[in-house]
């Protein structure tokens, strides 16, 4: 300190009396320490790093700003910054690629996500922490800009949407704070502030943009084994996730983990039952048929177990019947969703991809068939207890709808067609439902974005988020 040139004439008062007292205290300590200076050794670098490990990020940033020495040592502790980064943000570990011709960002898992992961693993966590901190600081201002400059807010929308998951945590904090503030003020229960409404709108827009990007990615990936039937079903469910669901869970679209876990758990139940029965030694039965027999445990409502799925006959047009996460939770659904769940479980049990057979008015699952005569084919109806059907049974199902049966009707349909049919069912469900919630009004219009034959006339983000039903309609602010 004595080496710094100082000018007493520049003694501008630095702070108040407390600062003066603290400065005096520091000078006293400096004086005392000078006498013991000879007996103290320097800490090794690894000890200093261990001390820094205990500090929170604010203390680390303060320490970093003291001088060059600690600026260097704090910036180099990448594992510490990774811990702070993962502790502060639950979302935002994906990266986008730019597709200039469409004006939308596409998420490429195979290439850019892996590139980004490698870049971070090289040890750039401190810069990443700084970047996201600055990003968080800018979100509030951008939301206010959106409220004020609504008519010219496309650039601001773009600024918010382009960051995607990186700003989800910040938005959740802002919305939660506004909700708490609104409920605590007298006479404001049920009324939302503009900041809350805009924040929810942006959060919903980001959630649906991510779902839309995943949807497009699933249709673009050509390698079949990378994309499974349940991936598309989950993308549809992500499109549906509400702001309340996002706020409840730590990460956006967290139900994906639940779906994968649940499918794995149900597959393990079947595997354990097969092992107990030890049908492997019996040559008479086809292994796939063993699995089909055991799957009745999960789909036969008469088996009286909590794990059994049943077809939702009572409320057939409930949109939740088409969402895979809701079906797994409620153990009920419509034929197509139950068929997706059925094939996903069978694939996990015996690594066999069952076929989805799209009969007019009904969906069944088909055992893979490479024979000649259709009469020997086996089908399963998950909607009706997982019962095994024959070729003749399928023709009877079709004729029940007064449609003439044709052998092409039992041809397996592709994953894309299954997903398109699920979206069509959802749109039809909404048109049949009498929605009481005004916020949901016109939601099925935005579902049309998922249809392959829907011309995407949207050219910018402002049009996208202004599309009917894309985001929540604002509640009047009183």
């Amino acid at each position: 300190m004595a080496d710094c040139d100082c000018d007493e004439s520049k003694d501008n008062s630095f702070g108040n009396a407390d600062d003066l007292a603290l400065a005096r205290e520091s000078m006293v300590l400096v004086q005392r320490s000078e006498s013991s200076r000879q007996s103290v050794t320097i800490f090794p670098r690894e000890i200093q790093v261990q001390i820094l490990r205990h500090l929170d990020w604010k203390s680390l940033m303060n320490l970093r700003g003291t001088n060059c020495y600690y600026r260097g040592i704090v910036g180099e502790c990448q594992d510490i910054w990774k811990t702070h980064h993962d502790g502060r943000w639950n979302n935002g570990k994906c990266r986008d690629t730019w597709l200039a011709s469409r004006g939308l960002k596409y998420w490429s898992r195979t290439k850019n996500w892996m590139l980004h992961a490698e870049k971070i693993e090289d040890g750039n966590w401190f810069n990443e922490f700084l970047r996201r901190s600055r990003l968080d600081q800018s979100v509030h201002l951008k939301l206010l800009k959106l409220i004020v400059e609504h008519s010219q807010s496309n650039d601001v929308w773009y600024d918010l949407m382009v960051h995607g998951k990186d700003i989800v945590d910040c938005l959740k904090r802002i919305i939660a704070k506004e909700r708490e503030r609104n409920t605590s003020l007298p006479g404001r229960i049920g009324v939302c502030s503009p900041l809350q409404v805009t924040g929810e709108k942006v959060l919903m827009g980001i959630s649906r943009c991510i779902a839309l990007q995943e949807w497009k990615f699933l249709h673009e990936v050509k390698i079949a084994e990378r994309v499974q039937l349940e991936d598309g079903a989950m993308a549809i469910a992500k499109f549906y996730e509400s702001v309340d669901d996002i706020l409840t869970h730590d990460s956006i679209h967290q139900f994906e983990e639940y779906v994968l876990y649940e499918l794995e758990r149900l597959a393990n139940i079947i595997k354990n039952r097969l092992t107990a029965r030890s049908y492997a030694s019996v040559e008479a039965k086809h292994p796939t048929m063993d699995v089909v027999e055991e799957m009745k445990f999960l789909f036969d409502v008469t088996s009286a177990n909590d794990e059994a799925f049943r077809g939702n006959v009572d409320d057939y047009y409930d949109p939740k019947n088409s969402l895979i996460s809701q079906c797994l939770r409620r153990k009920t659904g419509i034929p197509i969703t139950l068929a997706v769940i059925y094939t996903s479980i069978v694939r996990r049990v015996c690594d066999i991809q069952m076929d989805i057979i799209g009969l007019p008015g009904h969906i069944v699952v088909g055992v893979p068939f490479d024979g000649i005569h259709n009469s020997s084919r086996v089908f399963i109806d998950p909607f009706n207890g997982g019962r095994i059907l024959s070729y003749v049974d399928c023709s009877e199902i079709v004729t029940r709808y007064n449609i003439s049966f044709h052998p092409d009707m039992v041809t397996p349909i592709s994953n894309e067609k299954v997903w398109q049919r699920m979206v069509g069912n959802l749109i039809h469900s909404h048109s049949m439902q009498e929605t009481e919630d005004d916020n949901d009004d016109g939601f099925f219009f935005s579902l049309r974005f998922l249809l392959s034959d829907y011309a995407l006339v949207i050219t910018n983000f402002h049009e996208l988020v202004s599309a009917p039903g894309w985001c929540l309609q604002p509640v009047p602010f009183l």
Binding site: D11, R37, G65, T83
Partner: protein, 196 residues
């Protein structure tokens, strides 16, 4: 509680009921510690090595970097850790500014010493490779950084750590520079007032 540990330890040594390990401090003072307590130090474990079971060996471990007062504190810690209760695992980053909310009751009072002694404990724990003591003392130092204003601690920290003057140059910003100038000018005035 410590008196009971110390009494137990001394009585065991006096009776010859346990093998002991001798430490020699910087000043030449010898401290005898039961071997099981001494084994908290990885330095002892590696020094004894395969000769651990040889009762004829009377090995003294010299600690030229550790003062007697510091060594006494280290032995106090090891005795309590071994005979009473070990510290609870310390998670990072800290959830609280109070050490009492992170570890058991005895340990905050153990590290509630002046900074010189605390830093010497860190150095001794590092030299003797006592993981639990090193974790606790590093925790105490980090709590000091958290609770104090950073510039006050930095002044103490740097002075005690012998960091050369070149590192005292502020990294950036006029505010830091003005603060350093202010502190220096106030120091001069303080010393002048004291002289008067």
């Amino acid at each position: 509680m410590y008196d009971a540990c110390e009494a137990l330890r001394d009585s065991l040594l006096a009776l010859g009921a346990v093998r002991s390990q001798s430490y020699v401090s910087k000043e030449g003072d010898t401290f005898e510690v039961p071997i099981e307590i001494a084994k908290l130090s990885n330095l002892v474990v590696t020094t004894l090595g395969e000769d651990e079971e040889d009762d004829d060996m009377d090995l003294e471990i010299p600690l030229p970097n550790v003062k007697a007062t510091v060594l006494a504190k280290v032995i106090e810690f090891c005795t309590h850790y071994k005979l009473v209760e070990p510290t609870t695992p310390i998670t990072t980053p800290l959830k609280s500014n109070r050490i009492g909310e992170i570890v058991q009751e005895w340990y905050p009072s153990f590290v509630n010493v002046d900074q010189t002694l605390l830093f010497e404990l860190v150095t001794a724990a590092n030299f003797m490779d006592i993981t639990a003591l090193l974790d606790l003392t590093c925790l105490a130092v980090s709590v000091l950084i958290k609770v104090r204003r950073i510039h006050i601690f930095v002044v103490n920290y740097f002075c005690l750590l012998h960091i050369p003057p070149i590192h005292y140059v502020p990294s950036r910003g006029n505010r830091r520079k003005r603060f350093v100038e202010y502190l220096t000018s106030r120091r001069i005035r303080y010393l002048e007032d004291k002289a008067c």
